[in-house]
């Protein structure tokens, strides 16, 4: 058996899930190949951590904490619903109203501008000013 084949079967070998002939072949390879044997040992040590990691002792205050959390959640539930309504319903409604008012105001102002704007152009607005210059020549202005 080659090293690559052993690497692909190592976890099943360590868990004794291989058929006996393959178990024997891996065992023989590990006995002859120090590199694979080293990796197998590392792997065995790492997987053995699973056993030590299991929660064995029970927290004596666990039920008290669950009960306290349950009571706390029951108490804050009405105000929680209120804040949820505020955030999920009232805020979007308020923003929508402001947005609609803004768009409506903009449309109205544009409409007013269009109506009155048709009578005056920028050029026409300049005319009275230029005419005034004609009425009051520069010499007269300086004399005064």
């Amino acid at each position: 058996m080659k090293c690559k084949a052993v690497h692909s079967k190592l976890i099943f070998f360590l868990e004794r899930e291989l058929p006996e002939p393959e178990m024997k072949a891996v065992r023989e390879h590990l006995a002859a190949c120090p590199e694979c044997a080293l990796f197998a040992e590392e792997m065995r040590k790492t997987l053995s951590i699973l056993e030590t990691e299991k929660v064995s002792e029970v927290n004596p205050y666990f039920y008290t904490r669950v009960k306290a959390k349950l009571d706390r959640q029951s108490e804050i539930q009405p105000s929680g619903i209120r804040s949820l309504v505020l955030v999920r319903v009232l805020q979007p409604v308020a923003f929508s109203i402001i947005l609609i008012l803004g768009v409506y105001g903009g449309v109205k102002m544009g409409a007013t501008g269009a109506k009155t704007g048709s009578a005056f152009t920028a050029e026409q607005e300049m005319v009275p000013y230029l005419n005034e210059m004609d009425v009051e020549p520069l010499e007269t202005f300086l004399m005064e």
């Binding site: 690497h7 692909s8 190592l10 976890i11 099943f12 868990e15 990796f39 590392e42 792997m43 040590k45 790492t46 997987l47 951590i49 699973l50 030590t52 990691e53 299991k54 929660v55 029970v58 927290n59 666990f62 039920y63 904490r65 669950v66 959390k69 349950l70 959640q73």
Partner: protein
């Protein structure tokens, strides 16, 4: 008090039954959550929420499945939600970088003069590597592996919790072990274990 009696009394709002339920199934729930989130405090927090959910939705519980199966399902779902919430900021971190970062944390924290400080630290590093390798598995494989290894559930029991066939569970566990082996070998080659 049997599970059936606990359920019946809990449906009538009995606090004693709730206490009994928590005390008799605490280890099961905490262990399952711990197997998925790998943090004792988080696991206990999630486990508390599991029992609260059970208390609130006991009326909807039909005796189609065992109480423990129901508890496992809630514990798994809540733990996966917790992981998803925590994962958002870790999207761009690779497995090796995760391990290196966690190892650095251990080296900084490790200062207690235990009897075998070197051995202790080595074990902690191994635990980190293993946790990160399990965390990097696809969700279904991770759940199947955790239920099998931490809770020692049979393929049949896992299939009931995960609501899939026994052969699917077999396939999930096979792929989980293959992936785990690949990740551990990659880590071994890069000298992070």
């Amino acid at each position: 008090m049997s599970d059936q009696e606990i359920i019946e009394q809990l449906k009538q709002g009995s606090e004693t039954a709730f206490r009994k339920l928590v005390e008799s199934h605490q280890r099961l729930v905490v262990n399952t959550c711990f197997g998925l989130v790998h943090n004792r405090e988080d696991a206990e927090d999630i486990a508390q929420d599991v029992f609260i959910e059970v208390y609130r939705s006991i009326q909807q519980f039909r005796a189609d499945s065992k109480l423990s199966t129901w508890l496992y399902r809630i514990a798994v779902n809540r733990s996966l939600n917790h992981i998803r919430d925590n994962k958002k900021h870790k999207w761009f971190q690779s497995f090796e970088k995760d391990v290196e970062a966690r190892n650095r944390q251990i080296l900084q924290v490790e200062s207690s003069p235990a009897d075998h400080p070197g051995y202790e630290m080595e074990n902690k590093q191994r635990a980190v590597i293993l946790q990160e390798a399990i965390n990097s598995l696809p969700e279904n494989q991770k759940v199947a592996f955790t239920l099998n290894k931490y809770e020692e559930l049979s393929y049949q029991e896992i299939s009931e919790v995960m609501e899939m066939s026994v052969s699917s569970v077999e396939s999930l566990l096979f792929r989980a072990k293959k992936n785990l082996q690949k990740k551990l070998y990659k880590c071994y080659k890069k000298k992070c274990m």
